[in-house]
């Protein structure tokens, strides 16, 4: 079977238990050996999907709060979520016959808007926030140091209604309806145990997480993530992304941290800025995306080069210099952000920006120094403001039969 696999067809396929030829989109970290249908990213494996999985086009990210301190109820929800998530990532409904096959007198178990749509490479990535430990009264030793709250950065304009959360689910897919369907159904299952704190829709991935992908552009019109860590960077991922056994509590070994920042862009102001100024601020050309002084996008940036005016070709406060590993003692992160436009703001301006999502081994050793350098020096700060912020710990991937965060809850 090749081509697009619809949800309806998948049900038949799954029921027959037949293997499907033409498997694609198997992530580098997947431990699954079974062939998978096209457009299906395996849900289980050594790592959670949706981290080094080649970035899909669309995002629906949701941060939730626990409304109970009852561990059994949270466990039951996570089990239910896991079952539904695995089904949905395979292109199926939350439950067999969930949309129209149930009792017509009751509300359908599946909301139905993804019926007939392909799996669309849906990944669902799960994390726990700082409040998860306090609310459930978990052993403080289980709370990893990396989950300490982020410091306040210069010019932060954080809205509490767009920040924090006890849990998060990142849904990425090539079809926005598939991502929204997944989040909507998981949120619904959580009513009474969790409540939505905030959520964010994203489109147009703003970085590549695979060398197979072209570098996309952000809403400032610049290629973004040229030097991003990529799925193919095996050893570097271990160094910069995956939490190592010695780093903290065993349940998180092989997992990672997720930092989310909602970055509002003052689009209209940027659009009135000269091309030269824009390129100077970024440190790259707008067309090719080459570092200033270089010609190709992937040519190495020469931070030592001096221009005809006797000044560094890439300015001292250029964005790519401030954010570079060279300037940050080798710090790197895996970025996985998306553009967003939440309509207009009532003043006729786009309520738009970049929803920054990044994965890393230790937010306080990686994200904090990077963001501090940017917040204090980056000229781009005149064109953006950070309006939301959250940090989560994402457990490693799930083995067969495991549910999300099982090693933590049963530690």
């Amino acid at each position: 079977m090749t081509g697009r696999l619809s949800r309806r067809r998948l049900l038949g396929w799954a029921g027959a238990g037949a293997a499907v030829a033409g498997a694609g989109a198997v992530t580098a970290c997947s431990a699954s050996l079974a062939p998978v249908a096209e457009g299906v990213v395996p849900f289980r494996g050594e790592r959670q999907a949706g981290i080094v999985t080649p970035a899909q086009d669309r995002l629906h990210f949701v941060a939730l709060d626990l409304t109970t301190d009852n561990r059994d109820r949270v466990r039951a929800l996570l089990q239910k979520w896991t079952t539904a998530a695995e089904r949905m990532t395979a292109g199926a409904e939350t439950a067999p016959g969930g949309a129209v096959g149930g009792n017509p007198d009751g509300p359908p178990a599946d909301t139905g808007e993804a019926l007939g749509l392909p799996a669309a490479k849906l990944t669902l990535t799960f994390g726990v926030g700082p409040g998860f430990f306090d609310k459930l009264g978990l052993d403080p030793a289980l709370r990893p140091a990396g989950l300490a709250e982020l410091p306040r950065f210069t010019l932060d304009q954080l809205d509490p209604a767009l920040s924090g959360g006890d849990l998060c689910i990142q849904a990425c897919a090539d079809d926005p309806q598939v991502a929204v369907h997944a989040v909507r159904n998981l949120v619904r299952m959580g009513f009474g145990t969790t409540t939505v704190r905030w959520s964010q829709l994203g489109f147009g991935r703003t970085s590549s997480t695979s060398t197979a992908q072209a570098t996309p552009r952000n809403l400032f019109g610049f290629k973004d993530g040229t030097r991003n860590l990529k799925a193919e960077d095996g050893a570097e991922l271990d160094q910069h992304v995956w939490v190592q056994p010695a780093d903290g509590p065993p349940w998180l070994a092989g997992g990672t941290y997720l930092v989310a920042r909602r970055i509002r862009m003052h689009i209209e102001i940027w659009d009135r800025t000269s091309l030269t100024e824009q390129e100077t601020i970024i440190g790259r050309t707008k067309g090719e995306g080459a570092a200033l002084g270089a010609t190709g996008e992937f040519d190495p940036a020469d931070f030592a080069a001096i221009g005809p005016d006797g000044q560094p070709r890439i300015g001292e406060v250029a964005h790519i210099r401030l954010a570079s590993a060279e300037a940050l003692n080798g710090v790197r992160i895996l970025r996985r952000g998306y553009n967003f436009v939440d309509g207009s703001d009532g003043q006729g301006h786009l309520n738009a920006g970049l929803f920054f999502v990044a994965f890393m081994r230790d937010p306080h050793a990686q994200f904090v120094p990077m963001q501090r350098a940017l917040a204090n020096n980056d000229v781009m700060m005149e064109y953006i403001e950070h309006t939301g912020s959250a940090v989560f710990a994402c457990p490693p991937g799930l083995t067969e039969g495991q549910y999300w965060a099982q090693p933590l809850l049963e530690a």
Binding site: D105, P107, F191, G192, T193
Partner: protein, 383 residues
């Protein structure tokens, strides 16, 4: 439950599917009309006490004679599991005595409650019904009992709605604005508990509970509670306010007569329970409904009570078909009640305009948490 006992509580016509189901009850043994041989059980309801003369009675017809010795209007309830209302008597004024005659076919643990001021969970005490539940109870019997039990409850609500609305109407016609304002949310409480029943008639709800900005056919006036609400709180009483008051009363009496013969199915009960919570989510949490008086939390509470009343009627069926659902419903209803108690002021509630965004968020969360399991009831009882 025998047909005669239902007639006694003025369910005069239950026809169609419900009647067919009810017929099954005739196969059950008579539920002991002679069981109340000990005579009525005296209940002395004061403002801070509720003395029930006996803590147990044999299964069958049980009569409580409730005397209100307190200074507040009171109510008396007999509850089964999950606060299923076995019977209740509403609107007992100070110094009055009213009887509650309730049919309890199954032995087991029950709860009595007086509600001085008609607020909260009331003053509760355990009550034991003795005797073995020997009758054969099949599913259809349970469903029929659910619909007749709910109908009985609706009827009791209307019996309180009529005089309370009359008091409100009288105050409006007397030009007594302050009294009318105080009675407005109280009268509406009985209305909001049973609104899905009224909505089932289609034409009654717009007349009684329509909003000013609803679309109406040419020549159709804005009438009902909200028209008078606007007069009382915003415009001042108008020349036609007395006529509007009379119209409201006539519409309420129309509702009363039509409800006496309404036909209800278990699915309607379940959907009514869900719709009442939808009302809360779309009209009360937003402050949209009582936009002049801002007494939305009174309605909120009444909607939840109405939802709980309908769900409780179905409880034996729910417990039989999905034993996990009932406890979730109990917990979520209790959570909403507890949250609303935080906003209580005297016999009423804080005004909507006094709520913070955080307050509204907490209410929305509690209603979402309750609405999801309540939405499952229809599917469970028909599974």
């Amino acid at each position: 439950m025998s047909r005669t006992s239902r007639a006694a509580v003025r369910v005069t016509t239950v026809i169609g599917a419900a009647a067919a189901l009810a017929a099954c009850t005739s196969t059950a043994p008579p539920s002991g009309g002679d069981a109340a041989g000990g005579g009525p059980i005296a209940v002395t309801a004061a403002d801070a006490s509720c003395d029930v003369a006996a803590a147990e009675a044999p299964a069958g017809k049980i009569t409580f004679s409730v005397r209100n010795t307190g200074s507040k209007i009171t109510e008396f309830y007999l509850y089964g599991t999950g606060d299923r209302i076995m019977g209740e008597v509403e609107n007992i004024g100070p110094g009055l005595t009213r009887d509650l005659i309730v049919e309890v076919p199954d032995g087991g643990s029950y709860t009595t409650a007086c509600k001085p001021g008609m607020v909260g969970d009331g003053i509760r005490a355990p009550f034991t019904v003795t005797g073995s539940a020997t009758r054969s109870v099949d599913e259809n019997t349970r469903l029929a009992e659910a619909t007749t039990g709910y109908h009985r409850w609706v009827t009791s609500q209307i019996e309180a709605l009529v005089p309370k609305t009359q008091e409100f109407v009288d105050a409006v016609k007397a030009g007594d604005v302050e009294t009318a304002k105080a009675l407005f949310p109280v009268a509406r409480t009985y209305w909001e508990r049973i609104e899905p029943v009224a909505e089932s008639f289609g034409d009654i709800d717009p007349k009684i509970d329509g909003r000013e900005d609803d679309e109406r056919d040419a020549g159709v006036q804005f009438t009902g509670y909200h028209r008078l609400e606007k007069d009382l709180w915003v415009d001042g009483l108008q020349a036609d306010s007395p006529a509007m008051a009379d119209q409201l009363m006539a519409d309420i009496r129309d509702l009363q007569s039509r409800t006496a013969t309404v036909e209800l199915t278990p699915v309607q009960l379940a959907n009514g329970a869900k719709e009442l919570l939808d009302e809360v989510a779309t009209g009360k949490i937003t402050g949209e409904e009582d936009r002049y008086s801002h007494t939305d939390l009174w309605d909120f509470k009444a909607n939840v009570e109405g939802s709980q009343g309908a769900v409780a009627s179905l409880r034996p069926v729910i417990d039989e078909k999905d034993p996990t659902l009932g406890p979730v419903l109990d917990e979520r209803f209790a959570a909403v009640d507890a949250l609303l108690e935080e906003y209580r002021v005297g016999d009423g509630y804080r005004l909507y305009t006094e709520l913070t965004d955080e307050d509204k968020r907490r209410m929305a969360e509690a209603v979402d948490a309750l609405g999801e399991p309540v939405s499952q009831v229809a599917g469970v009882v028909t599974s």
